[in-house]
Amino acid sequence: MTLDRVDSIKMDYVDPANSLNMPEMADMTFAMDFLIRVKEGVRNTATALTETVSPDARALLRTQLHQSIALHQEITDLMVRKKWFHPYDLREQYQLDQLSAENTVEIGKLKLFPDDTRRKSMFDRTPDEHIGGNMA
């Protein structure tokens, strides 16, 4: 492929023009990721609590469960306020999900790390040689 200067500029996906609204979209994704993690945390703690009998372990897990639920409420409220999350408007939520799915597919197509940056076999020894890491 011949690299045309104009083309390479036009094709440049790190061009700020292509990053319009990117911080907001990234924040939305981070918030969603956080929501999923907090939600899983609440469920994990609740499950652990139902499997526990020792009073001190139960007390600790119950406190942590309450803290996790409070955190979940906080992130949900923020996402609803920011209009990143529409629990009452299914149509809106669907369109938003569709949009982020499309964006994610587009990001997946990008060649984000064009050059081979591996440094393997450039050194004559490895830092984990003493535990046999070079034989792995």
Binding site: P23, A26, F30, V53, L78
Partner: protein, 64 residues
């Protein structure tokens, strides 16, 4: 043994999950631009660190 085996395993699992969560929240904190979201992530790191220490205390007692 202060705790039953399955309790220890359950707490161990919680600790492993919390570790991943702290790492992730801490990393994401640097990438987020919204101040409110940043504040919540920071809060999560602090709370989860404390919770992990509490779980660690139980695990230390259990493995004594």
């Amino acid at each position: 043994m202060v705790y039953a085996m399955h309790e220890t395993l359950e707490v161990h699992e919680m600790a492993a999950f919390k570790t991943v969560c702290i790492t992730k929240s801490k990393t994401m904190h640097a990438l987020v631009s919204d101040p409110a979201l940043k504040a919540i992530l920071q809060q999560d790191v602090e709370i989860s660190t404390r919770q992990l220490q509490e779980l660690g205390a139980i695990l230390a007692k259990a493995t004594q």
